[in-house]
Symmetry: C2
Subunit: 208 residues, 2 copies
C-alpha cells in the first residue's frame, strides 16, 4: 500500500482548484432588506460571470431553505443558524475553487462578521444592496411587508426587527437609484479593481 | 427595470454548469467502517479526476465536522443530522456542476437512502468500501477501535453500533484485498461504463 503515500502528498486543495478554474475563489455576500434586489442582482452577476467562463454558484433562500436548512424556522436563533450554515457552505464552495454568491437579508452585523472571519483573507466581499425601506415596501413582490404591517408575520426585518447597516461593505449599491445592469457593472468594476477578473474584462453591454 | 426580465429568463442552472465543465454532475458516496480506506480511495480518485480536468470536491469529516457540523456530537440523532446535512451540501455541489465525493462511515441504510432520494436520478453513486472488521481493527490508525473496545468511546460502528451493509451499491470495493490504485481503477472503470467520463479514458498507470 505504498501508493497511499503518493496520494496523500498531493492533495487537491483550494490552490489547485483555483488554478484549474483560472479564477480567485470568492464569497460575494449580498445583504439588504427583503425586495431590495439582492437575488436579482446576484443572479444577473452570476449569469454574466458564467458567460465569461467563471465557475460560480448562487446560494439563496430557494436552494437552502428547502434543503439544508429545512429544519430551521424564523426565530432569532434559527435565523442566526441559517446564516451560519450558509456561511459554512459558501466557505466549502470557495474551497472548491468556485465564486460563491450568497443572497440573504442577513440583517445582523455579528452574523455577517462570523462569515467573513471563517474565510481566508481577501475571499469575502460584502455587498450592501441598499434600497430605502419605502421602495422595498412599495415593490413588495410577495406581499410580505403588507403581512408584517398587519402583524401576520413577526420579526420581519425593517418592520419589527432591525436591519443593521454594513459599516464597511466592499461594495455599496444604491439599489433604489440604479438599474440591475448598472449594479452588475459596478460589481464587475470592483472585481476587476481587486484583480479578481482576468485582464481583458470590459463592462457588459446590457439588453434594454 | 425591464432588464430584470432578461436576467430571470436565463438562470444559470445545473445543465448550464454541467455543460461549462463538460462533465456529468455526480455525488460519489463512500460508505464503510472506520479505517476501511474510504478517505484514502476517495482522495486518490479525486486526484486522478482533477488531473484529467474534471471539477471535483471531496467532503469528509475534516472539512465538515470542524465547520458546518461543529454543533453536532455523536449521538444517534446527531449522526443522522450529520449525514443529512452532508447529503444536502453534496446535492448543492452537484447542482453547481461538480463531481462531489463524500467519505463518511454513514452506517445506516435509511440515512444513505435519504441522500440518494434528494438527488436527481442517476446522480448518486454508492460505493461500499468493504474491509473486514478485523482488518480495520488491525489498521486502527487513530487508535479508535482500541478505545471503543475499552469502552472509552461509545456507539462506535462495528463495536457497539451496527454497520448496515449496502444492499445494492453501485460499486463494491473489496478493500481488504485490493490496493488503492486498483480501487481507483475499479471506480474509473465504473464511471466510464455509465458514460460519466469523456471518451479517451484509460486506466491510470499508478506509481509503485
Amino acid at each position: 500500500m505504498s501508493s497511499n503515500v503518493v496520494w496523500h502528498t498531493h492533495p487537491v486543495d483550494q490552490e489547485v482548484r483555483s488554478e484549474q478554474k483560472s479564477q480567485r475563489p470568492l464569497v460575494i455576500w449580498f445583504t439588504g432588506l427583503s425586495a431590495s434586489g439582492k437575488s436579482t442582482i446576484a443572479g444577473a452577476l452570476e449569469q454574466i460571470l458564467t458567460r465569461q467562463n467563471y465557475h460560480t454558484y448562487l446560494l439563496d433562500g430557494d436552494n437552502v431553505r428547502h434543503g439544508l436548512n429545512n429544519d430551521l424556522g424564523f426565530s432569532h436563533e434559527d435565523r442566526q443558524e441559517n446564516i451560519r450554515r450558509v456561511g459554512e457552505v459558501a466557505k466549502l464552495m470557495a474551497d472548491a475553487g468556485l465564486i460563491a454568491l450568497a443572497a440573504f437579508i442577513s440583517p445582523f452585523r455579528d452574523d455577517r462578521r462570523l462569515v467573513r472571519e471563517i474565510l481566508p483573507e481577501g475571499q469575502f466581499i460584502e455587498v450592501f444592496v441598499d434600497a430605502p425601506l419605502t421602495v422595498c415596501q412599495e415593490r413588495d413582490p410577495k406581499g410580505l411587508y403588507a403581512k408584517a404591517v398587519r402583524g401576520e408575520i413577526k420579526q420581519f426585518t425593517g418592520i419589527d426587527s432591525p436591519y443593521e447597516i454594513p459599516e464597511k461593505p466592499e461594495v455599496h449599491i444604491r439599489a433604489g437609484e440604479v438599474s440591475v445592469a448598472e449594479a452588475v457593472n459596478q460589481l464587475l468594476s470592483y472585481l476587476h479593481e481587486i484583480g479578481a477578473l482576468q485582464a481583458g474584462y470590459e463592462p457588459v453591454a446590457l439588453e434594454a
